[in-house]
């Protein structure tokens, strides 16, 4: 019989860290409250028996108001459908904040399940001058207490031993500690009795603890679920119960105050606080980093350094990958004869998937920065600083972490919105999250910037133009997300700005393990996508660009011309140049004749206002399922066009050499910018749309997201091209 253990605790107390030490499974941890938003299960072996650990989102109490708190309540009350009941609760408690942490513990004691308490952050407690009598605490709470230090893996063996003990024996559940007033208890019991009479209508048995939650959490999740089952009039009845339970019906206040009274009594017996040395380090840092002006300056500085590094630090590695790919192409050229197979490998796979792969280093640098900032505790400060700004858009600092995660990828970003309790604020955040420039846009920006933006130093040499352009592209997403959020909050999802209450963790040195795992996971995810989805789309695009072949009549014309050149020019440079030119012409004709070319040319009118020709348009269309594909498609299109590109500088030079039919360069700076802006604003990501559907439980929202972003992208690209074009025409050549 396999056993299930739920890991529960306040936000940011080290649940995931402990979970990882126990299971060895790498889950993402961060020094930011509310990082675990989805229930994750890991496996550990205890004496050969498998034990499943469930890592739950952090919560201050079992009164559920946001979706992630509902997950906790559901798992603990065993109300997840089709799920094994939890055999044991592993409560993770922050020893340096015992009073607040024990609040949840007093609730857990009432669930009638065996409980094991892991007292984490013992190092911090010691530093704060908190001395805990563990044996005494264990006795008072009536549940085993194991001191641990999760991030240093201290006490893990003892914890395993305790787990083993509790899971093997027929452990009785511990006794509840908190006692409530006479009328309070009576009212809850009466409600419980009534609910059990209505068992048939509700469809299940309601526990006494759930009855308490229904009563205490006015407008909460438990109440809503019952009202859904029993009808709206039941709400009034609940209010009667509340009036009976506490003065003015303030059940929640009565509950929390009573609990804390008990906790004070416990602490008096088990904890001695010596005149505490404050966390002077965090305090000093905070007086600077949360300063309304200096803090913002620092924030902008950090972000600039981050984007500068994405470009500069990753550049050499990107160059190596490109060089490696060129070698590979030469190798294939030597081995394989000209033909379909060679074209598939060189023009399809390498030019396609290869050009996407070359961006791995940049994605690693970006994730590395985010992981470092999260783990050292800075992110919560950034959320604090950004709250003022988000407040103006009708959101709160709680939306910051989902939006920031979206810089890596909108999918985890959208999942992270579960910590937002208000439905409308959550939906608005979901709607604008895909506007934030994710790492999949990086390849597009990179190629365009490398090809068409000069790398001249600007602003006194502090930054270079390429890095600055990249920063601006990223800024564009944010600058548009803000007014869009404001607009949605005013129109389709109206409501007051949500409350904002966030814990600021102490600063600490980032944990190497955590950071490396996070970067590794993101990198792996990227490679997996490149190897599967992107690869498949690339092969399809290549086939569409390769077939059908030119008709034999046309082939014959080119063949004749070739023979003519060979006869007229016996040898020498002239002959080589002319032959190469002919080959390029033939390739272009082949591309224009292909399925892709035909489709592109018939849709050319759509792209013309944006300054694009049909080739750019086709590349964009092909990347609607996944935006990175555009780089691959551009690679395929321009590689097919330039079969004898001996310089082999890859896509960048191919794009620079691309010409319009009249011989002028295809890409000007304004065309490049218009393409970048389109990609910055468009929702070209099937995965994002699917996750929006899952999180909002309706197809309306993904459809809406897709529509508004596509419109925004088209308008944005149009405006940028027009303005850029005007400047280019003004400037002397």
């Amino acid at each position: 019989m396999s056993k299930f253990v739920a890991v529960v605790g306040n936000p940011n107390v080290g649940k995931t860290t402990l979970f990882n030490s126990l299971t060895g499974l790498a889950l993402v941890t961060a020094n930011y409250p509310g990082v675990t938003v989805e229930r994750k299960v890991g496996r550990m072996q205890l004496e050969g028996e498998p034990v499943y650990l469930i890592d739950l989102p952090g919560t201050y109490s079992l009164s559920a108001r946001s979706p992630d708190e509902m997950i906790v309540a559901d798992v603990l009350l065993s109300q997840q459908k089709g799920e094994e009941p939890v055999d044991l609760i592993l409560a993770v408690v922050d020893a340096s904040n015992l009073e607040r942490n024990l609040y949840l513990v007093t609730q857990l004691l009432e669930l009638g399940k065996p409980l094991l308490i892991a007292l984490n952050m013992c190092d911090l407690a010691e530093r704060h001058g908190v001395a805990i009598d563990y044996a005494q605490l264990e006795q008072v709470l009536g549940a085993p207490v194991v001191p641990v230090c999760a991030h240093k893996r201290v006490g893990i063996d003892a914890l395993r031993a305790s787990l083993q003990n509790l899971l093997q024996g027929q452990t009785a559940a511990p006794k509840p500690l908190v006692t409530f007033s006479e009328q309070f208890c009576e009212s809850v019991r009466d409600l419980h009795a009534e609910l059990n009479q209505k068992q048939a209508v509700i469809g299940r048995r309601v526990s006494l603890f759930e009855a308490l939650r229904v009563l205490a959490d006015r407008g909460g999740y438990a109440e809503q679920r019952l009202v859904d089952a029993l009808g709206e009039p039941f709400r009034d009845k609940l209010n009667d119960y509340r009036l009976r339970a506490a003065q003015d019906g303030a059940v929640a206040a009565e509950e929390s105050i009573t609990r804390f009274k008990t906790i004070r009594r416990i602490l008096d017996r088990c904890v001695r606080v010596s005149p505490k040395r404050q966390d002077m380090f965090s305090e000093r840092l905070d007086s600077f980093l949360t300063h309304p002006i200096l803090g913002l300056v620092f924030f902008v500085l950090v972000m600039s350094i981050m984007f500068q590094s994405i470009y500069n630090a990753a550049a050499p590695v990107v160059a190596w990958i490109d060089a490696g790919l060129s070698l590979l192409v030469q190798g294939i050229d030597n081995v394989l004869p000209q033909g379909v197979l060679r074209s598939l490998l060189v023009d399809g796979c390498i030019a396609g998937v290869g050009s996407v792969l070359a961006f791995l280093p940049q994605i690693v640098v970006l994730t590395l920065f985010i992981a470092l900032l999260e783990d050292c505790g800075y992110m919560a400060r950034a959320a604090f600083l950004m709250d003022k700004f988000l407040f103006r858009c009708g959101l709160s600092g709680h939306s910051f972490i989902p939006l920031l995660s979206s810089f890596a990828c909108a999918i985890p970003g959208i999942m992270a919105t579960r910590t937002i309790s208000d439905r409308r604020d959550r939906f608005v955040t979901i709607l604008v999250a895909p506007l934030i420039s994710c790492s999949a846009r990086l390849p597009v920006y990179s190629v365009m910037i490398a090809a068409f933006v000069p790398n001249t130093p600007v602003l006194g040499g502090f930054v270079r133009l390429q890095g600055l352009t990249l920063l601006l592209m990223y800024a564009l997403g944010i600058l548009l997300a803000a007014p869009m959020a404001w607009l949605f909050k005013k129109t389709i999802l109206p409501g007051a700005p949500p409350p904002f209450l966030l814990e600021l963790p102490s600063y600490k040195l980032p944990q190497m393990r955590t950071v490396v795992f996070k970067v590794y996971r993101q990198g792996k995810e990227f490679l997996k996508r490149a190897g599967t989805l992107i690869f498949a789309l690339t092969v399809v695009t290549w086939a569409l660009a390769y077939f059908p072949p030119l008709s034999s009549n046309v082939e014959a014309v080119y063949e004749n011309q070739r023979r003519e050149i060979e006869q007229t020019f016996p040898d020498g440079d002239e002959r080589e140049v002319r032959l190469a030119q002919l080959e390029r012409d033939e390739s272009r004709a082949r591309l224009e004749n292909s399925f892709l070319g035909r489709a592109g040319r018939s849709l050319a009118f759509l792209f013309k206002p944006l300054g694009w020709d049909w080739r750019i348009g086709v590349a964009t269309l092909s990347s609607f399922p996944a935006r990175e594909v555009v780089v691959a498609t551009l690679g395929i299109i321009f590689n097919i066009e330039n079969p004898e590109d001996e310089s082999n500088e890859g896509l960048v030079s191919a794009l620079r050499q691309a010409k319009r039919p009249d011989g002028s360069p295809l890409f000007t700076v304004s065309v490049a910018l218009s393409l970048m802006v389109f990609f910055a604003l468009c929702c070209q990501c099937g995965g994002t749309l699917i996750i929006i559907q899952r999180e909002t439980n309706s197809w309306r929202w993904p459809a809406f997201t897709f529509a508004y972003m596509t419109a925004l992208a088209y308008i944005g690209a149009f405006v940028v091209f027009r303005i850029g074009n005007w400047f280019e025409n003004m400037a002397p050549h």
Binding site: S63, N97, E99, G219, G249, S256, S396, P499
Partner: protein, 95 residues
Amino acid sequence: MSDKDLTQFAAGTDLTVSHVAGDGPVANRLREIGMIPGARLRVVRQGSPMIVQLGNSRFCLRGQEAALVKVQTAESVQGAEAKFSPVESPGTCLF
């Protein structure tokens, strides 16, 4: 004696909570993190959002939420701690 709220004190002030007003979700959450009568607070940064120190943790909250937290300066409540002293509670066990 009318209570002032958290927004009315400068950074660096030590305060004692007298109560959190209201029975809505935000008021409840504030109580659940420990803002109950007698709890000690310190204003770290004033404004909206503001930062307060509560025990060994820091929270940031907006003016709107902070206005729910009614407080007194630490000196003016020397005796108030008694209100919350560890007398054995008389209540009955619910479970």
